[in-house]
Amino acid sequence: MANKLEGERDFYRQQCNELGTRLLRLQQEETQARRDAWRSRTTARLLHDIYRLADAGVSLEEIGQRFLQIILDTLVVYRAALLQYLPEQGRFVCVLSLGFSSSEQPDFISPELPEDYHFASSSSTPTPLLDCLRQAVGVPYFLWAFNARAGLALLLGNLAEDQHLHRPFEADDREIIEGALSVFIDITERKRAEMALQRANEELELRVAERTAELSVANEQLQRELAERKQIQTELAVARDQALEASRLKSQLLASVSHDLRTPLNAILGYVEMLYQGVYGPLDDKQRHTLERIVVNTEHLLIFVNNLLDQAQIEASRVVLNHTLFAPAELLTIMESTMTVLAEAKKLTLTSSIAAGMPEQLYGDRHWLSRILINLVSNALKFTEQGRVDVKIYQPEPTCWAMQVTDTGCGIPASARSFIFEAFRQADSSLTRSHNGSGLGLSIVNQLTHLMNGQIALTSKMGRGSTFTVEFPLIQPTSQGVSG
């Protein structure tokens, strides 16, 4: 019986022990389940809150502060700091901190880590840093998470006296804050990228605006310049029209003045010549001399007026060459009819000759050719005080013919030869008075000669005389040009 009771007691004792063990296991399992549930809930809340930071539309620093606040609130921690690892210095630097009092506020610059220090596993806490922190802050309990990709560490700490307010850190907590840190880094990177994009956009807009403003200024400038140019063009056109009109009026005036001068001069010359030639009876020496002076001066005046008319016609490009057949002697006859009296008056010998072998007829503009010859002879007579003026028509080569005027006058200095063919110039301006010339004659000779494809040559010796030669190509009449 006793044995039976003993046996029953052992059985119940064993039963009790088993039940106690099962109860303990169940209690442990319940605690574990509670903790798991808390962890899940906490993690979910934490991550949810952190994700929402991204849409808060605040600055990066603000996001960091709020992140730390969320960590503190959720995990019920009193101090948190974000540390950035600077690889080139081998140190951590505090970026943000929350919960540290001003006296605790560490500058968080960690001691230099050994070069071979390895962050491969975030669970390995860099001991030198912890030592440093412990020394600086006096925070004995630490939780540490490190994200190697961003080089960012999250440090949580509680003071010893905080312990009664807080549960101790547990190994699982590290997983939570590692997740939180990772999400935070993702968010800040996204935020940074968004901000960079926004900045780039703003910059772009700014530059577009600047460029638009510049273009607008440039455009206005261009419009202004275009308007100015148009204005100038209009003014130029008006000025040109005025100049053309003035030039036309000048030519017209010159022609009409020349005509009005020539008609009475011609009459004077005609009457005086008649008297001089003795048409109305013989003259005594005084009468003859006086009439001779009148004839000579009137001839000079006429030559000048003729040259003015010719110059006006040349300037207005109104010289029309009219080619006809004519005998070379005709040029000499026309020349002599005006020049003989001038030569006689200065007691100069004026001769003219046509070289043997010259064609009986030349083809060219008789009027303008005789204007050339008259001007050359008039020029020669003007600058010759004694001796002779010889006129020769000859062929220097089979393909051309020439008029040559040689005088025994004062000669033309070499320095003057380049400009005596310019209008209104004479070799020596002081000579202008004593020789009353306009300086138009040689210019007209030059222009007409070139108009007829001719060439002009001058040889001169000071004190011995000058020879002017104008040479023209010998041209054959075209069938159109000859009629009878």
């Binding site: 020539r262 009459a267 008649m274 030639q277 029309v320 009819s337 009027h367």
Partner: protein, 130 residues
Amino acid sequence: MKQARALIIEDDADLANIFAQALQVAEYAVEVIRDGKQALELLEAATPNVVVLDLHLPHVSGQDILRRIRAQARLAETRVILATADAILADSLRDEADLVLIKPISFRQMHDLAARLRPPDTFDLADSLQ
């Protein structure tokens, strides 16, 4: 031998007078007309050896007169001296005229040229000018 005849058609009295004197000295029998229409009337019957013709004339232009002369067989031997200040117009008529003189034309010039144009069968009283 008969005397050469010249007709001067020139509206400027002075020039007409001077040309007339020059041609008279050159042994021409000279008649002066100062109006284009009258000149045409006179040329209906007269056959001058030389006509000195101005271009700008009252009523009928020298250009028209020149054409009328050239159109008449009776006047085929008539030499026409154009005496004008209009060089451009004169240039265009060079082929139809025997001689073109651009004013101013001197007494001696008119005399010498007229003497040269005198028909060979008319008399020539030595050159009285030289």
